[in-house]
Symmetry: C3
């Protein structure tokens, strides 16, 4: 069981790293810069979670996140054409990563004795903040704010987690159901183009003096 | 007394959340993205303060900040035209929030045994960093850097706080005078268009290799 | 010996602050905004390091970083033409700051009992993150990602640090050799225009729905 989780976590980290490296590749960034962007995409969410929970950042105790990102960069350099065309498969890895990272975030928060709504927030932060940092560093408005079912899938997964826990399922079952729910919600949202409405307004430009 | 402070803190959080949601509404962002931007605007400053002071982030122990932001989003969706035209009233709430958040930041730092200049810095961080994060996430140069009397009002308020404390005023009086000072300074600065000079230079563009 | 280090650390902080103020000066930012940008450039890296290591942020215990930045702003206002033309000398200060900040970051991490690769990461974070924050706040893609030999110099310096420690050199010698190595690597890289290759790709634009 742990080795199965480890393989999926490796794939999730790999997919998040590739998503950072891929976006960096259109921006006149060198190999090392692409590595850093990929790394921040993969570990950014969990790092903010650990800072907020006053825990040692998870990547300090295991070098696999740094080496997986190096592997992602190497794969990109060797098989660039094919990696960038791997849309479907990468998207699946990304969804798997999202599901697993969400579960890890919730579990760590529950272990720290936090209430339900904080734990769901931490699961969502773990899954999404890496991508937000990637976009901010590359000078884009974060895709998260335009791609609602991403964060919403984490929140729905969190609600399912605590429903399963309330029903007294064993923890391995709770975690599996949660991760699978997030992954399926994400796949369904993309498949059927599900979106929340955009907030429109005539107001544009910089915040004015009055606010 | 605590209920009066609570009402003002609620109004301040509400005003900061509205300022985030309002700026988000010009950027093709969906409802949930607008909620997150509003939330970060309202809680970003206090969160950085608590991380720097090694305290539990304040919003983890009380869900009112999340629900106030939800209320701000709901109000925006229901009364969009009116909310966005509420310039004067919102600006007043924002100034009230700034004054109260500054006092909270200073008080928490004094309780943690920090020196005067660090406490004033923490008060300023509490009042201003949420707006900086809002602007960075929406891909704007932060308004803070162009709207000097904003942060300067926090610093002046901090000096007044420690002057009052030196004069041995009771803490409730010190806190009230400080909050009112920040609010009045902000109102006066906007009313009379008070600005610090802009730093000009022929130098433009990206940092070059030599620096 | 400590006073020599202090002078160099002062020069490094000064150079980093100037680099922030200088970049701010092309962006319609006022004096106080320029001060904040300069301060964040100078202390941003060490602050993130201390948050990750769960230490009190270094600048809270000594006001010299705030006053050095004030001195940098004053110097800029008084001698603007000359300061902005100080390319060579400022670049030297910046390289000195980079070398010293890297050593401080590694030493703090070793003292905290962290493994070699985490310590090298912390040295690199200490030296580089301030400049990344400067660029993000001013709405630029961070120069770090395009100027590889900057972060790579920190990493190489880290490897030299642990090689010297393995050879059982006294700590003052280890630290001096490390700082000098980072500085020389940086000077050589700029002198001979050494760069890593840019990661190219046909893919451009925002991350798509599939990833």
């Amino acid at each position: 069981m742990p080795s199965f989780i480890s393989i999926l976590e490796f794939l999730g980290t790999f997919a998040f790293a590739i998503s950072g490296i891929r976006l960096a590749s259109g921006k006149q960034i060198d190999w090392f810069g692409a590595y850093i962007i990929g790394l921040i995409t993969a570990i950014g969410g969990g790092t903010l979670r650990d800072l907020l929970l006053d825990l040692t950042p998870f990547w300090m105790t295991n070098s696999i996140y740094f080496s997986t990102t190096a592997f992602a960069l190497l794969a990109t350099l060797l098989f660039k054409e094919r990696i960038f065309k791997l849309g479907e498969a990468l998207f699946l890895f990304d969804a798997i990563g999202l599901g697993l990272f969400t579960v890890v975030g919730i579990t760590k928060s529950v272990d720290a004795g936090l209430p339900v709504w904080v734990s769901i927030t931490m699961g969502t932060i773990t899954g999404t903040v890496g991508g937000v940092l990637r976009d901010v560093l590359l000078n884009e408005v974060p895709a998260l704010f335009k791609r609602d079912i991403y964060a919403v899938a984490c929140i729905a997964g969190g609600l399912i987690y605590f429903l399963c826990q309330y029903l007294a399922f064993p923890s391995a079952v709770v975690e599996t159901i949660t991760a699978v729910s997030v992954i399926l919600l994400r796949l369904i949202a993309v498949r059927f183009h599900l979106h929340l409405p955009v907030l429109k307004n005539n107001y544009t430009g910089e915040p004015d003096e009055k606010l």
